[in-house]
């Protein structure tokens, strides 16, 4: 401790780096924990009950309803999309029609008028979200048409329970009663309506997991054919939770990278600190201190400083959910649980300590072995000295433990282990590149003019900054470019390939008998429009090869197929935008056992082969069909296509509606398009129009948000990198000042020295940026090809921005360093004493 009094100048970087690294890990962990905690805490509100039972297309029959009622209080609701019309305009709305028991938990927030009570329970009155009023030019109290009836806007809908359980919304929400729903006549046989039954167990029994399982099993056993999709409040949004977990897992690696980078900064700082302490250590040894005492003295200092850094990092991490919730309250699907979470902080602290040991033990070990003879011979180099194998092994063990913690904390350990290896390889690659740059500069050192020679000598010579720059900035820059390029490729795919060929509209719930009239209306308004249609039903896969769906173990890529209901159709001929890769299509008048054609990739994921049996619950009936063919589908065309296509004889008799797509000829004016949509809405009030560009826009916005989140984390890595670089430059500053003084003594002007310094930093920044662009391009290309299955698009702008950013960062650090170098007085550096 006494030794620490002599000053810890230069160790600010030590504290800063460890604080930022720990903050990154703690913040990411805390945010994920907040999200999970929010799901758990708000589970009942999110589900809207203790359990929810969902049916698609059909309402629960009397027996089913009685079975549900026997379990506790039940609230019934219907969810669907429809068109709201008023004043010659129409807009897509997400409707929820509820009974009098709604809501079982929580309350509906009516934003306007204040104290409105429960206006939606009144027949003919609806609550709507503000954007709908804006779109239709309405205000509270006005009326609008939905389906076959006029309704009054009774107020503005705010937050409501079970919002998360509803599907992704394409339009503003509307809340109405089941009585109002009846008036609309929107519910027809085969209409795409989701009927949800929320159940509240009596006497707060829903608290118990056993009671929940019991209720679930009771319904499943009693109604094995019902096709209920069942959720309970303990896991209210499984798919959202899984998506969040996968995202967290990815971003945690960025956090780990940030921490390791911070560790490098810590290592650099401790090395230059120990170099300054050389004489003091030698003096201690002359006075009788042992190597282990010296090690203890400096280890205590390192631990104290690391503790300060870790404490700062943990504080930032603990506050992250609260800060995030404040900044992005509107963008989040649920309110985050903002109180600090212990485990992520403990993990982050442990990771911080292990990182500190990984990067500090070895330099400290080396320093503790300094010979007392350095006092006698100032020029004696300690370069040749190496700490014993023990210190190196200790450092390695800490590194291994760090990765072990990361792997142990992960659900997908093989992927985590591979990514961990990838991080190590990336660091080594950058280190090797830095070494290569140093060697190359050393070879090219005779290059004229002299400013180049000086810069190259500095890059190529001992004490070169090459490795510091490449390692500290390479990863952050690479991440930023990779994110930029992937986003560019995905956006290009959405905008170019998808929008260009996609239909302009989907029309849901066209009555089979109205299809001809519907097409006529389109042709009358836009004669060259292309219209396509297909019968549309929804069903859930309940068994594959006789194994019930809930007993089938699937990877994350396939899980979604079994997690809810899927659209399905029947047709006599092979649907467009798909080709048969195995098996045969059924004949036109096929009358045999039910057959199904499957998407090739999904069939592989589910382990389905030709001839296997799949059981699908459609409209409360289990249909078992044999896989007759496998198709390769071009989903990006957005043409009508289905994972499962059945032989007509299987589904013809089931009540269903028709899905229609509309492709408008190029150059169709917005006016003509609006007129057509309005004409359809007027003539077919029960049909719902979904504009493809709206969905694509929503997808683009979501993609943008995800990419921003990753970019922010990558930016954090870059910030730590800049701190590491600044630390490395600061550590070598005395040497740079000495060289500048020497050059001045030998006749170099300040201009020449400035040019040489900036050239050195600029060259290193440029080389690092080029490497970052190359590595990021390769990574982005590989991910686009194999993970996202989209065409890779290189963005010169993203690359140029990276080069610019790298130069800006390195030159800023360099300019600061140069300014201080130039102001150095000659005499202190040149005197012998």
């Amino acid at each position: 401790m006494r030794e620490l009094r002599s000053g810890v100048g230069g160790l600010t970087v030590f504290v800063f780096c460890i604080a930022l690294g720990v903050a990154a890990v703690a913040a990411i962990g805390s945010l994920a924990a907040s999200f999970e905690a929010a799901l758990a805490q708000q589970g009942r509100l999110l589900v809207g009950g203790d359990l929810s039972f969902e049916l698609v297309h059909r309402r629960a029959n009397t027996d089913e309803r009685a079975g549900l009622d026997a379990q506790g209080a039940v609230s019934e609701s219907a969810g669907f999309r429809a068109m709201a019309r008023a004043q010659g305009k129409s807009a897509l709305v997400e409707v929820k029609a509820v009974d009098a028991a709604f809501p079982l938990y929580g309350a509906v927030n009516v934003l306007k008028p204040a104290g409105a009570g429960t206006p939606w329970r009144e027949a003919g009155v609806v609550l709507v979200e503000q954007p709908l009023l804006d779109r239709l030019g309405l205000k509270v109290g006005d009326s609008l048409t939905i389906g076959e009836t006029d309704v009054t806007v009774g107020g503005i809908l705010g937050a409501q329970p079970d919002r998360l359980a509803d599907r992704l919304a394409y339009g503003p929400r509307m809340l109405m009663s089941l009585d109002t729903l009846d008036r609309t006549e929107l519910v027809q046989p085969g209409s795409l309506v989701r009927w949800t039954y929320r159940l509240k167990l009596p006497n707060d029994a829903g608290q118990s997991k056993e009671a929940l399982t019991e209720a679930r099993n009771a319904i499943q056993t009693k109604f094995p054919q019902s096709g209920f999709a069942i959720n309970d409040w303990t896991d209210p949004a499984p798919s959202l939770r899984r998506d969040a977990q996968r995202f967290t897992q990815f971003i945690s690696f960025v956090g780990l990278t940030a921490l390791l980078l911070g560790g490098i900064g810590v290592g650099n700082a401790i090395q230059s600190y120990m170099a300054k302490k050389r004489d003091i250590i030698a003096t201690f040894k002359c006075l009788g201190a042992t190597s282990s005492l010296v090690l203890k003295v400096y280890m205590i200092q390192a631990v104290l400083l690391a503790s300060i850094g870790i404490a700062i990092g943990l504080l930032i991490g603990a506050l992250a959910p609260a800060i995030f919730a404040n900044l992005y309250a509107d963008a989040l699907p649920i309110a985050l649980a903002t109180e600090p979470h212990l485990w992520p902080l403990v993990t982050a602290a442990l990771a911080g300590i292990l990182t500190m040991v990984l990067f500090v033990l070895w330099p400290l070990g080396r320093a503790s072995r300094i010979s007392p003879a350095v006092l006698m011979r100032a020029h004696l180099s300690d370069e040749g000295q190496r700490s014993s194998l023990g210190f190196a092994l200790g450092s390695l063990a800490a590194g291994a433990a760090l990765f072990a913690v990361a792997i142990a904390a992960s659900d997908e350990r093989i992927i985590t282990a591979s990514i961990s290896a990838g991080i190590v390889v990336a660091f080594l690659l950058l280190l090797a590149f830095g070494y290569g740059v140093q060697k190359l500069a050393s070879r090219m050192r005779r290059t004229r003019p002299p400013a180049w020679a000086l810069a190259l000598a500095s890059i190529g010579g001992p004490g070169s900054l090459a490795r510091s720059v490449t390692v500290s900035l390479g990863l952050g820059l690479g991440l930023l470019v990779a994110v930029g390029l992937i986003q560019r490729s995905l956006t290009a795919e959405i905008q170019g390939n998808i929008i260009a060929d996609a239909p302009a509209y989907y029309f849901l719930d066209v009555d089979a008998g109205d299809v001809a009239a519907f097409k006529d209306t389109i042709k009358t308004n836009v004669p060259d429009a292309k219209v396509d249609d297909a019968p549309m039903l929804r069903g859930r896969i309940v068994a594959i090869k006789g194994v019930p769906a809930d007993k089938i173990q699937l990877g994350p890529e396939q899980r979604w197929v079994l997690s809810g209901d899927r659209g399905l159709t029947y047709t006599e001929t092979v649907p467009g935008a798909s080709t048969i890769v195995a098996g045969e299509w059924w004949s036109k008048d096929y009358k045999g056992e039910p057959l199904v054609s499957f998407d090739d990739e999904i069939a592989k994921g589910l382990g389905l082969k030709l001839g296997d049996k799949v059981t699908v619950n459609i409209l409360g009936r289990n249909v078992e069909a044999k896989v007759a063919s496998l198709r390769k589908i071009d989903w990006e065309s957005l043409a009508i296509n289905f994972v499962m296509v059945f032989s007509p004889n299987t589904l013809e008799a089931a009540p269903h509606r028709v899905l229609t797509t509309l492709e408008l000829p190029k150059g169709t004016s917005a006016e003509a398009e609006g007129k057509l949509v309005q004409a359809l809405a007027d003539r077919f009030p029960l049909v719902t129009a979904i504009k493809v560009s709206d969905i694509v826009d929503a997808a683009r916005v979501l993609l943008g948000k995800l990419m921003t989140a990753i970019s922010v984390t990558a930016g954090f890595v870059l910030l730590i990198g800049a701190a590491v670089l600044a630390g490395a430059v600061a550590a070598g500053q005395q040497r740079r000042k000495y060289l500048a003084v020497l050059y001045k003594t030998l006749g170099a002007t300040r201009g020449r020295i400035i040019r040489a310094e900036l050239l050195e930093f600029g060259l290193l920044g440029f080389a690092t940026a080029i490497l970052a662009v190359i590595l990021a391009t390769l990574t982005a290309w590989a991910l686009c090809k194999w993970a996202f299955d989209v065409e890779f698009v290189f963005s010169p702008r993203a690359a140029a921005e990276t080069v610019g950013l790298a130069l800006a960062l390195v030159l800023s650090v360099g300019a600061l360093a140069t300014w201080r170098v130039l102001s150095a007085k000659a005499a202190p550096y040149l005197r012998s004493e």
């Binding site: 002299p450 020449r752 012998s832």
Partner: protein
Amino acid sequence: MDQTLKNAKATSAIKLEDVHVTLPSRAGPVTILRGVDLDVPTGDAVAIVGPSGSGKSTLLMVMAGLERATEGRVCVVGADYAGLDEDALAKLRAANIGIVFQSFHLVPTMTAIENVALPLEFLDDGEAFAKARDALSEVGLSHRETHFPGQLSGGEQQRVAIARALSTRPSLILADEPTGNLDLSTGEQVMDLLFTLKERTAATLLLITHDHNLAKRCDRIVSVADGRIVTPAKKRARAS
């Protein structure tokens, strides 16, 4: 190369008039030189002797333009330092002054030949490396051209430093304890070399030394104590 500066001819290579140097320190201003007058004619070899802390090295720094005089006039190779900024002083040094230090001060990231070529490159001399090679040959180190300072012995490093100081054929050589870090025999060899080259180039030599035997090889000896010249410069018989 700056011909105006290079051709500056003066009867006095160094002329100091009432030079004072006061430097700031934590304990307050410290006066190091207290009114130094010195006139070194062109071509002479002058030794400056004196105890540690007497101001010898500061005197050399002032002559080299690396330290500014707080008061007084400094004229070196015909240039009055009062009118020159830092860059002009750097150019003046490159063209006219070669400096040899006790600690050699070679650029550690550069090889021997690169070190020697450096001042020539600062003068934008297109034949910098050819001349550097000749200079290294003059000090007998042709075989060490591509070695880094860390790979050379102390004596070799000082010979490289001498080659570097003389590579531009300066009219003034300033040497600050050039044998201070060398053993006796190597020191003698290095000084023989320095004097030989000084004679060959007809340069003026100002040598700071503790070694009276070495001082005796100069034309004159000037004693400095407490920031003042205590023994007026007096002409001695040429030692060699």
